[in-house]
């Protein structure tokens, strides 16, 4: 139960498993439903909507990160448009400042620390032991990988993913729809739609309109 409603976890992949673990650790009575997909981007919501009426159920949508996280944002938008409340799931082993604002359907896994005055947009996922310093603004649909660290006053644009052990120096701006999948520090601002990983150590970037 969450508030006056039952809780259902819907989605797929490791995020659904992680959400189940956090819900259990929180002692939340809940149900879980894996959504069918033909392509990892489009999910069949119909069984969930039929099984869990919006009048009695609230949802948490769990979906792994993939290029720019459109799928997760889209899924959350769909259930909200269908009249469902979406809840945050915060591990009891995480530390979240009372002044931090989580804007719904945010998953905070164990050993995460979120400092004061942090804002985390809807559909965010903070994996195990991610650290977020004070006054950080994380827009919707972002993922922070295991042990990722975000310095003070950083901003992360919509749909951006930080990989495991990624480190953002303080006051850095990372644009929208970026993937920083390299461990270690980023010290310069990252333009919108930039992608860094093992094969792109200098980054790949989308240009033009």
């Amino acid at each position: 139960m969450t508030g006056s409603k039952h809780l259902a976890l819907i989605g797929a992949e490791t995020s659904l498993i992680a959400a189940n673990e956090v819900a259990k650790a929180c002692g939340l009575d809940h149900e879980s439903l894996a959504l069918a997909t033909r392509d990892r981007y489009h999910f069949d919501l119909a069984p969930a909507l039929a099984r869990f009426p919006a009048s009695e159920w609230a949802f948490f949508v769990a979906l792994d990160e993939r290029a720019v996280n459109h799928a997760r944002l889209e899924l959350v938008a769909q259930v909200r448009a269908a009249g469902y409340e979406t809840v945050n799931l915060i591990s009891p082993q995480a530390s979240v400042s009372p002044s931090a604002r989580l804007h719904g359907n945010v998953l905070v896994e164990a050993h995460v620390a979120v400092a004061a005055n942090v804002s985390i947009g809807y559909a965010g996922i903070l994996r195990v032991a991610a650290l977020v310093a004070a006054d950080v603004n994380i827009e919707a649909g972002c993922t922070l990988g295991e042990r990722a660290r975000v310095g003070r006053e950083c901003t992360l644009g919509t749909g951006t993913t930080l990989g495991p052990d990624c480190v953002l120096e303080a006051r850095l701006r990372v644009g929208v729809h970026c993937e920083l999948l390299l461990a270690g520090p980023f010290v310069d601002a990252v333009p919108d739609r930039s992608f860094f990983d093992r094969l792109f150590p200098n980054g790949a970037r989308i240009l033009g309109r």
Binding site: D39, V68, F195, F200, R205, L207, R209
Partner: protein
Amino acid sequence: MRRDRHCLDARHYVDEHVFQLERERLYGRLWIFAGFAQALRERHSYFARRVAGVPVLLQNTATGLRAFINQCPHRGMPVQRAGFGARALVCPYHGWSFDGQGALHAIPNEVEYGFEPQERAGLSMIPVALRQVGELLFVNLADDPMPIEQQFAPQMLAALDGLSRHLDHRLIHASFPARCNWKLAMENVKDANHVQFLHAESLFPAMREEHANRAPPLAPGLTPAPRIVRTAAPPLGALSYAVKTPLDIAPGWFAPLVERYGTDNAYYNWFLYPNVNLCSINGLHFVLQQYDPVAPGSSDYHLWIMTARRKHPDTDFTALLRTLMSAERAVVEEDLQHLQALQGAFGPWSPPVSHGNYEQPLIDQHRWYVANVVHEARHDRE
């Protein structure tokens, strides 16, 4: 007849003197692809890169697209330090600013410099010749550039112009180091026979069986030969050519969302001498690869990818472009692992290359290179 199967030696891929000749006589003379115009639509947008080591800046200015040596005439600082951006021509070091022609506009604290008027008049950014063919931008570093029509045949220029109408305005670019000579990368993409070995699980399964083991058709103007034909060096214009190979890849999910180039399920290739391969899978997306020389055994590998033009500008292909780039990069890595091993094995002990009949385009390219770049007499080995 071994002599007919051999043209370049290992030293052409490792020798510093040969590399300097290439910079002077090849990259210092020919038109070299530098970027795509559709990425420079906005005022002050630019990209800065190197062309065979020379820092080149392409900038959208008040007078249109311009190319310069990316250095301030004051102390030589790059005027644009990032690879891409939108910023006026202002040197970040001491604030010198330049107009759309590269002429000096203003110097902060100018009295401190004490320049005479005639000295000041000579302070400008160095212009570089720029030609736009469709959406493709070419630069030429020569003082007196050759006509681009001398380098690319009219049908090739028309083809580039025509296909440009299908290129989307949004593209993804990446560059990364390759520890091999630029010529190896270019020769590799012209060699269809390697695909079944280096890309057995990635690219090869998509090639139609009847074409998978064959060399591509020869360039226009070249005659298919039962054996390698020893001829004089071909004209420069014959070194760039187009090839179309049937493919067994069904059109991707995004096909209905774009203005497709052509109607066939095919692998289109345009080889642009000296260092560009532009290709398209089914006319739905385009990949441009370029191999920019850094040192004899080192290159910068550039990848540009775009879809065919979107039917609706609101269609967001961010995730698709990212996915296409990752897939292409994975295939390139399969090549680079081997090309870097090949480069590392080169030395005075290396045996002469023995090209097969299907490699006639490489032989032709090498003959032109020997005659025009290294200026060597053929020293064929029996």
